[in-house]
Every structure is written in structure tokens, then in C-alpha cells.
Symmetry: C2
Subunit: 343 residues, 2 copies
DNA sequence: ATGACCTATGTAAAGGTTTACATGACGCAT
DNA sequence: ATGCGTCATGTAAACCTTTACATAGGTCAT
């Protein structure tokens, strides 16, 4: 393009009548330069419209001031608000944010590592729940940079983690149902592989036990967090004719599936069944009945994670290896006391 | 950190027993290098795990292979899928994607320009509908790079635009209502300032005129695209007692407001009123009644925009200055034929 | 045998910073 | 007068590429 050559530090130095070293110092360590000199340099900078060339600087400093964010699905509504938090904090501290949409595809994950190995990013935020494949490929063993995991911890690693306190949140959710009088509470979304699911199940169990309610294994159903899994689990319960008075769901998407199934069977919610979600994603308030759920502080999760990563980059050892933020109970219309008579 | 110094082109050259120029050529212009030499170089690269330092390369080539995306709200559900498209296409062509969340804040917009003026990005995608403020600040007049506007065109400029064909889409939406037998159709979301709104209003008018339906100015109401604006407009109609049989809304959020207002008044939808949205955002299928709407091909919009921008960067004059993609009618349950008797 | 041309490779400059080290001026204690 | 310490600034190397230009060897027509 018509790249009308940008001003360099040399142009500024010439105008100010000093050496380029002095200009650099005037910019980066103002105290080390005489007042009068600094004034002249600043004037020259203003006159030329000089901005320092980030490439040259990064080359020299071995620092790009960029953070790579690796997410399995950038389009996920749960992710976008976290991204806002990540970006806000990074921007505030002078860092840029590079995004990589991996789709859980090993090839893409490996590809994004080029940003790391080519020095284009200093650190990495992982929302994938695992290290990028290809980081230990033969002949490709990229040295991984400082990292922070968000949302899903990386198993068998000491990578710092920032996310919601799933155990506590799920416990609070179950307690809310119990406080409304429910004693037969189903848990939809057990999974032996996903850490998040396991924690939320443990929270559910803890609340029931604390209330002296026996755990009924027939009320705990598998699910992968999709709307369809919620629908299927609900149907399954009706087929077996083992019914709860309330459904505690692994997340809002699952809860939506449950609601759809119950609506289809023409039950009146929340009079006949209560449903509780987790996440508070945007549609939660638009479903009928609107969903009572635990809200994840997504913005703050993003900010805290970025803060931690930048801290690592600046050499601070973190005081603790994981930050768990509390989720907040959002009461809407999908939970009510159970009917004394069974539906 | 424990930056165990990465291999440079010089290390590779030493191992392969050639000069660094040859290594560079073996990588970038393989045909210009003898087969045997190329083999040796590749072997050396494999052995060292060398990757070219993007900073040094960018410095030398004056090209960063990065694209800056400026969006007013990264958290907007309408945006995230566009982002996926943008990122996918960029990644496919070897570019990285840098994101900037401006919140429509002039200061932040100006701040992100540092990526441009410091050579950290070669091009820019604008979702803001205007040039970043500060691009012509005194002493700061950054040369703007190649740009493409998405979603909202930049008025009074010749910046290429990629988006949905709003006129056509809105016309199709209105035609759908007309085909169901509606003749009193309200348009919610007029705005004298926003180009998108004006186009959609024109589409609405065109459809009605083509069907020989007189335009009733009382059925055209202002709105800014928020859910609240939809609710208010609906209330306003009841207060004035000028009622349509169908509501054509500027977007899904507005349609949601209309549905909420009608539900609150205990109308039976779609028997008594039909409601139509535009966008097909994720909750559209979860509202009751689920929303009939025009689906924006967001993924394709993102891809097309990035394709166009990268084309510009590679020196192709675009064949045309704007790309309008068609939206698709999604029929759900919020539209039905009007009752012959007024509600 | 000579020159022209081609191919494969090497040499060195350039790109724009930061910073270790050198320089020089000055004040002050001896 | 000498020496020392401090302060402000300058010189030049280093960061790692790409690439214009130079070189050298080989082929081929004359």
C-alpha cells in the first residue's frame, strides 16, 4: 500500500538533536533523562507522530506483549463474556489478545502453537481443558509459555486455574431446592470423565447428605451437557417411572432439555416439577418458565485469569494455584415448592 | 522464564553446512535451492526444532500477518459467530486475529490504533460502523490500513462492506407475513440514524406496496433494537388502540420484547398476533412461541469479510465494493394466519 | 579457447529497537 | 592539583530475518 514510511526513533533523535539512545530512554525511563532534553524529545515525537515499532521492540526484548487465547468454541455463549473479561484486563495492562478457535481439533491446536514458538505471544490462556496437542510432537517440542487454565482445569498438571467454584455452586443450588421443601431431587449430567461434572455432582451429594436426605442412585443420570441429553434423561425417568420433584441440572442447556421434555408432556411448571440450571446463559431468562440458576461471574473469571497470567509473566509467583469464584443464585420462575400430592 | 534460547536460522545453517541465506530460501522459495541442499536444511530444521521468529520476519518484511478486529461488543451473541467466520478464514490463510473490544468508547478505539501504527496489524475489520476515533487526532494522524466493514457500513466512505442484504431480507420477511394473509403489519424499530434500520424499513415498505397494501404511518414505530424498545412500542400501540395483526421487528431482541408484552397481556400467540424477528440469534428457538425470523449467515459473513480484506492486502482490487449475503427465512411458531375477527 | 548465460550459493546490508559499556563534564573531598 | 563519584548522554552491538548483489562453477555455442 501507500506506506508513507513511518517516522523512526532516528528521525526523532535528529530533530531533537540527541542520540537514539536518549530518545529511547526519554520514552521508557523518563527519569534518566534531563528535563530539558526530555522536553525536546517529546516535542520531536509530537511533531513526527512517532510511535515505536512494536516488531523491532519485540525482537529486541524477546517479548511481544501478546496473549494467545485457545478456546474450543469461540461462538459458545458461555465463552464470549469470559473473552470480554480477558480482553478488558489485558488491554488495561497494555497487552493484546490473539484468539485461536480450536474446535477441539488437534491439528488446529498444534497450528496455533506457531504463535508461541515464533515469539508472537508471551503467554497462553487455555479454555480447552488440556494442553494443546503437538506441544510434544517429535521434532516439534515447543517450549510451552506461562499458562493459565480457565473454566476447565488441565488434569495432571500444575497449571494455575481460574474458574467458578463448582462444588460450592452446585451445593448452593441443591440447598435452594431443599429449602423449598424438595427431597426427591434428580441430578442430570453425571460424567465420569469431565472434572466439572464430577465436582457439581459432589456438591449435590454434599447438600443432600447435610440435609439428611438419602442419595437415590436412580435419580442420578448421565449427561454430556447438551440440551438433547437433558431431554433424553427426562424421558428415561418417565420410562422407568422413577420421578423426582425437582431436577438439578449440570448446566442451563441441559435444564432447557428437561423443560422441553416436561412441557411436551404437558406438565405445568413449576407447579408439578421444579428445574434448576447452572451458568445463567443469556437465554435462561427467556425460556418459559424462566430458569432459576446459578450465575457464573464470567466477566470476573476472565479478568482474574488474565490478571494471574500477566502476573506470572511479570515474574510474580502466584500466592495460590487456583482461584475459585463464587456463583450467585438467580431466582426466577422454574422452582417452586413441591406439591404435597405426587403429580 | 526459563527461555532456553530458541534455535535460530544460524544454528540451522551451521548444522546443514550452508549459509543463512540458503536456509531462508529453502524455507521460503524451495525451488531456488538444489534438492540435496534442501534435504539437508530440512533435516537440520527438524533436528533443531527451528521455527522462524515472526518478529524478526515482520520487522524485515514490514508485514505482521495479523488482522485487528474492532467490535463494539465482543460479548454480543450476534457477533460471536461472525468472529468464528473471521477467525476461520484468517487462520486458513496463515493470518492471526487480534481482537479489540471498543464498547463504543472513543478512547479505547484510539488506543487500539496503536496496533496499526506500531505495525502489529496489517489490516482491520470494523464492526463499529464508523472509523475509529483518534485516527485523525492532532499529532496522531495514523495512516489507516486496508479495512473492511462488517454488519454496519461506514457512512460517507468507500470502505468495502460485507453484510446481510437488509432490504431484501426485510422484504422477504414482510412477504411471508403477507402470504399468511396479514394486511395490517406493524414495523417496530424505525430509526433515522442507523443505516441498517432504514434499509429494513424500506424492505418492509417495498413488500407492502408490491402487495397493494397502503402504508399506515401509525403502524411504524421507533426503536433502538433492544428488548425494552420492543416492549414499549407494543404498549404504545395498545395505549393508542391502533393494532396490527402482525409485528415485523427490526431484530430478534425487539421481537422478544413484543412477545413479552403480548404474553403479559395474556394474548394467545400466534393465534391472536403474529410476531416476526430478524437475525436468528440463539434464543430465538427457545422463546414461547419460538420465533419465526430471518437467519443471518453469520459464519459466511465473517468468512467473506476476511476473504475480502486479505484480498486487499494481497493487492487484489475487489471486483465490487460490497458483498450482500442473503438471509434465510426460518419458520417457527410465532407466525400464523390472522383471525378473521379482530382480537 | 572464449564468452555468454544460467544455477546455486554466499556476503552483507537493512529493518527499528534496547541496553551494556564508554565518555565526558561537573562537583566535591582530599 | 588530584582523584573519585555521579549524572547525562553517546556508541555500537545485538535481536533474527530477508534479499540485493556478488561470486563461482558449469553448460553450451561459437
Amino acid at each position: 500500500m501507500q506506506q508513507q514510511k513511518l517516522a523512526t526513533i532516528e528521525d526523532v533523535a535528529a530533530i531533537a538533536g540527541v542520540s537514539i539512545a536518549t530518545v529511547s530512554r526519554a520514552i521508557n525511563e523518563p527519569t534518566k533523562v534531563a528535563d530539558e532534553t526530555r522536553r525536546r524529545v517529546n516535542e520531536a515525537i509530537a511533531r513526527t507522530g512517532y510511535t515505536t515499532n512494536a516488531m523491532a521492540r519485540s525482537l529486541r526484548m524477546r517479548r511481544s506483549n501478546m496473549i494467545l487465547i485457545l478456546a474450543p468454541d469461540v461462538g459458545d455463549p458461555n465463552f464470549s463474556n469470559i473473552l470480554v473479561g480477558l480482553e478488558t484486563e489485558a488491554s488495561k495492562r497494555g497487552y493484546g489478545v490473539l484468539i485461536g478457535n480450536t474446535q477441539n481439533d488437534a491439528e488446529r491446536e498444534a497450528d496455533y502453537l506457531r504463535f508461541i514458538s515464533s515469539n508472537q505471544a508471551d503467554g497462553m490462556i487455555l479454555l480447552t481443558g488440556h494442553l494443546p496437542y503437538g506441544h510434544a510432537q517429535p521434532g516439534q517440542e515447543t517450549r510451552l509459555p506461562p499458562m493459565v487454565a480457565v473454566n476447565e482445569p488441565v488434569p495432571d498438571s500444575d497449571i494455575p486455574f481460574v474458574g467458578v467454584d463448582n462444588f460450592e455452586g452446585s451445593r448452593l443450588a441443591a440447598e435452594h431446592l431443599i429449602s423449598q421443601g424438595h427431597r426427591r431431587i434428580a441430578f442430570i449430567g453425571r460424567s465420569s470423565s469431565r472434572a466439572v461434572n464430577k465436582l457439581r455432582e459432589r456438591g449435590y451429594r454434599a447438600a443432600l447428605e447435610a440435609a439428611g436426605i438419602a442419595i437415590d442412585p436412580l435419580l442420578i443420570l448421565d449427561g454430556d451437557g447438551t440440551t438433547e441429553s437433558g431431554r433424553q434423561a427426562t424421558e428415561h425417568m418417565f420410562v422407568r417411572d422413577v420421578l423426582p420433584t425437582a431436577f438439578l441440572c449440570i448446566n442451563d442447556a441441559t435444564a432447557l432439555g428437561v423443560i422441553i421434555a416436561l412441557n411436551a408432556r404437558r406438565y405445568d411448571l413449576p407447579r408439578q416439577f421444579s428445574v434448576m440450571g447452572f451458568d445463567d446463559i443469556s437465554f435462561a431468562s427467556f425460556v418459559t418458565p424462566s430458569l432459576t440458576t446459578m450465575k457464573q461471574p464470567r466477566l470476573r473469571i476472565g479478568e482474574a485469569a488474565m490478571d494471574m497470567l500477566l502476573g506470572l509473566l511479570e515474574g510474580n509467583r502466584p500466592d495460590r494455584n487456583s482461584v475459585l469464584l463464587r456463583s450467585e443464585l438467580i431466582v426466577r420462575n422454574s422452582v417452586a415448592p413441591p406439591r404435597s400430592s405426587l403429580p
